[in-house]
Symmetry: C2
Subunit: 538 residues, 2 copies
């Protein structure tokens, strides 16, 4: 009952606030229909179940990801989207985790909580060896351990102490949290950054080479969160850059116990069985794209996207099943309400995001701009170096893209939009959100966010935005972990998110005005419109 | 430097506040020496490492617990404690977890996070079967599933939704938290409680019988905390009451995924390999007891205790390695400072606490009181029913015990003492704590606490107390879980706790006054001095 009345009051509110042009006398306007369809007949949960429970994690180019890609294409086709297709970009090898088992066998038997690190090779059956604790984080540390690693399993992380979580894991935003982001960060440029990043990325390979040449049999790193959480993130996906040694991430509690036992001796023995396999053949990653065609072929398109790939310790639920499901559900809502937009609405599920926004960058390079010398870049350095190439030349598609909306911050409900420094866009964004004020999604703040697929669109001046979302327990314990599963999605938040996204897309597709753009970037200028200190990836 | 100055200022403070009789002109008094020894030369961490990392979990009567018992006897002997001995009580079978492996094999392969439930039988190799979700919590549910369980793995818990932890996992007390417990709860009596408890305990066996008679191959329960935490608690330790079916506790995330997949079908298949063994031969549990003899044979004794047994998903660090280590470290501090107390100081490590305070109740029955008809009780019902037997007759040892102090709330530092309703004791308790005000342990509150080994002493009128401790993350995530490991102990808190405990024991052993007692209990009276609604166990 409460829900019905709630929807009814929203219908009334949205009729008053409706976007001009979508109101027909005597029947609910499209915004009201969207709200009704999205809240009262949501299919977000069943989409989530199919994607997360039945298919599971979606490491880029893994067998599971290929299944998920086929599922997404079929879903988009069944929704009646047009021009549904896969669009490739250079990536590298796939990698499947089949099973794994890590145990301490001496001084006492314990099952250890651990996961193979993505893109490390298999052990080819159980390997038993003593451990050695050898925290190595730069080449200068190699000498200290030379000659000691032969036949050993090498523990590479400084063990440290147990954590003390004094803030709640699960949090919703209040207005003051949101307002803190209503400010533009000043652009900054760090001329040494490229060189440092190159060195850092070379170090992973140098370390692998060093460990292999010393005769180590495997390495272990400590999970970066306590409490039996695992992540399994790894690099090494590039063709020709596969690591030599099996690598394991171990739960912090188990890792530290090993380190303490090694300290008082004798060194513990482990058996590691990492049953993983590489998936070769097709080294392209694929974005999945579908659309609702616009009525005006000259009006361009608006686009909503979310990365579809995930890490593989959990099922990739909040990162980023949630965003992917919201994209598909928003498409369903719009199809169900029979929207005929002026501009085309594109729906995109990106791949390769976790390894450096490869999918969205691939789209940018294919359709939107060219940068001088970009042909020389490889999947291993494109994320870091592409942005420093000048000049930047707009392709014909550049003018067609009128707005991009990204979702990649978990399953928390949408609270508004980050204008990403494009303050001129705030007025229109606010008007598009207005019908959803009663759903909690009314804020537009100036701040920029990083680490996900709107970044390269924004970096070339396009109006590209991330939604503000309630963080819930995304950062505290779900992001990339083995508990990133369906049951930590919040279904009520997801149907709100899909509803708001559908409404914003409709408004953006129909508005008589277009969003302003930022200028194309120029080299090393203090007025450069994007920040150079993006976090690694998200 | 900071530590040194801190200790120096405490030395000065404690000289002023010293317990009368322990001050010698020109040299630090015993309290000052205790503080110096406990804070500056703590051995708590190395004790913890030996017990928790090297020996590990200590399920009552398991092989590991026997090792730990031998270790504790040796430690007490090396500390020069006198009359070190093991004291038996009726318990039941031991049970060892050797290894286990639980996987979903269909519709897709996943390693599931799970642990065999204590005292359930082994699978004798891998068992593969389909699951059925059959939430059964009382006999009335049997009919709904009759005929459907043959050859199945039965999921017994209602799956529910993911949790939303909105309070911090890790917490220290402020004064207002402590003051909330400065109140006596009114005693209450629930005449139907025994019968209900009997039925509840019979139900576990009836359920096992039902599942076995229906041909189920194993059962699974959901872990009661989210986030891949496991507990593995089980009953069934009594001789002749071993369950028929293997039982598994599964991480909440994995359990719910199975339940969702079963809902949309086809039913997932699991393989379970529960490699466990029963340890028979000696069915007695053992408390470990040692003492510093008092100078006055007529002055009786004071006692400090902590349960030494644990569950087995982790290493039993905060529950209750912390208390056990504190007892041993307090003994070391007192021996090191050469205390010659008037009253004997006894140090006890209890066993069988997790299954119903068996060790401390065994001590109470052996040394302190007899209750009419207690001979008929068994390990399975003694915890629940012994307290309802009347009359209660004091044994000669009853008058010898002058105080009991218990520690069983994790590794958080001591903040004071619960007077456990014995408000007449508060004045002396406060004076004993006075030198430790600067260490944060000055509060005495009237409140009663339950669920651990002071309970039966308090219930028969003896002055028996639990310490107030900073909770840290004990309740939120450590208590009985697979992350109850060394690295979630706080070493600084432990050395504070051992220091305060040593000081309080010395003061209690030397004070010219004795603590007041409460009356021996009488039947079913509203003025009965103990509460009848103790929580299950702690």
């Amino acid at each position: 009952m409460r829900n019905k009345r709630f929807v009814a009051s929203l219908l009334a509110a949205s009729t008053l606030l409706a976007v001009p042009g979508s109101l027909f006398a005597g029947e609910p306007d499209k915004t009201a229909q969207i709200i009704d369809e999205g809240l009262a007949r949501s299919e977000a949960q069943i989409l989530a179940h199919e994607l997360l429970d039945q298919i599971g994690p979606r490491l880029t180019n893994s067998t599971n990801m290929r299944k998920a890609e086929a599922w997404a294409v079929e879903k988009m086709q069944k929704l009646g989207l047009k021009n549904v297709h896969k669009e490739g970009f250079d990536f590298g090898r796939g990698w499947d985790l089949i099973s794994s088992d890590v145990r301490m066998t001496s001084p006492r038997p314990i099952e250890l909580t651990a996961i193979p690190v993505a893109w490390t090779p298999p052990t080819n059956g159980p390997v038993e060896a003593e451990i050695i604790v050898a925290p190595i984080s730069k080449k200068e540390h190699f000498d200290a351990y030379r000659g000691q690693l032969n036949g050993k399993i090498v523990l590479l992380t400084i063990p440290g102490m147990g954590d003390e979580p004094t803030t709640p894991a699960f949090k919703r935003l209040d207005q003051s949290d949101i307002s803190k982001n209503d400010e533009i960060d000043l652009p900054s440029f760090d001329p040494g950054a490229i060189e440092r990043w190159r060195k850092r990325s070379e170090f992973a390979q140098e370390l692998d080479d060093f460990l292999a040449s010393e005769g180590a049999v495997a390495w272990v790193k400590k999970a970066r969160r306590d409490g039996k959480l695992l992540h399994g993130e790894g690099s090494g996906y590039e063709v020709g850059k596969t690591p030599k040694l099996p690598g394991i991430e171990m739960a912090a509690e188990d890792y530290r116990r090993l380190a303490r036992l090694a300290k008082t001796g004798p060194a513990p023995k482990l058996t590691i069985n990492s049953n993983v396999r590489f998936v070769d053949g097709d080294t392209q990653g694929y974005n999945i794209i579908g659309e609702i065609p616009g009525s005006d072929p000259k009006a361009g398109y608006v686009m909503a996207g979310a990365h579809f790939d995930s890490w593989l310790a959990g099922d990739g639920a909040v990162d980023n099943g949630a965003g992917s499901i919201t994209i598909l559900e928003a498409a369903r809502i719009l199809q169900e309400t029979g929207v005929k937009p002026k501009r085309t609405i594109k729906f995109v599920l990106w791949s390769g995001e976790e390894q450096g926004l490869h999918g969205s960058l691939g789209y940018v390079r294919r359709h939107l701009v060219a940068r001088e010398g970009e042909e020389a870049l490889t999947p291993g350095n494109v994320y870091r170096e592409w942005r420093y190439l000048f000049p930047v030349t707009a392709k014909p598609g550049y003018s067609e893209m009128k707005a991009y909306f990204n979702m990649d911050n978990g399953s928390g409900k949408l609270r508004g939009i980050y204008a990403e420094g494009n303050v001129g866009a705030e007025r229109l964004l606010r008007s598009w959100l207005a019908p959803f004020g009663d759903l909690g999604a009314s804020s537009v703040v100036a701040g920029e966010t990083g680490g996900t697929d709107h970044v390269f669109f924004n970096a070339i001046g396009l109006p590209a935005f991330q939604f503000i979302q309630d963080p819930l327990d995304y950062g505290a314990r779900l992001h990339h972990t083995n508990i990133d599963t369906f049951d930590h999605l919040r279904p009520d938040d997801l149907r709100q998110a899909a509803t708001v996204m559908a409404g914003v897309l409709m408004a953006a597709a129909n508005d008589k005005e277009e969003l302003p753009r930022k200028p194309l970037p120029e080299p090393q200028s203090a007025s450069d419109p994007f920040k150079y200190d993006y976090p690694e990836t998200d």
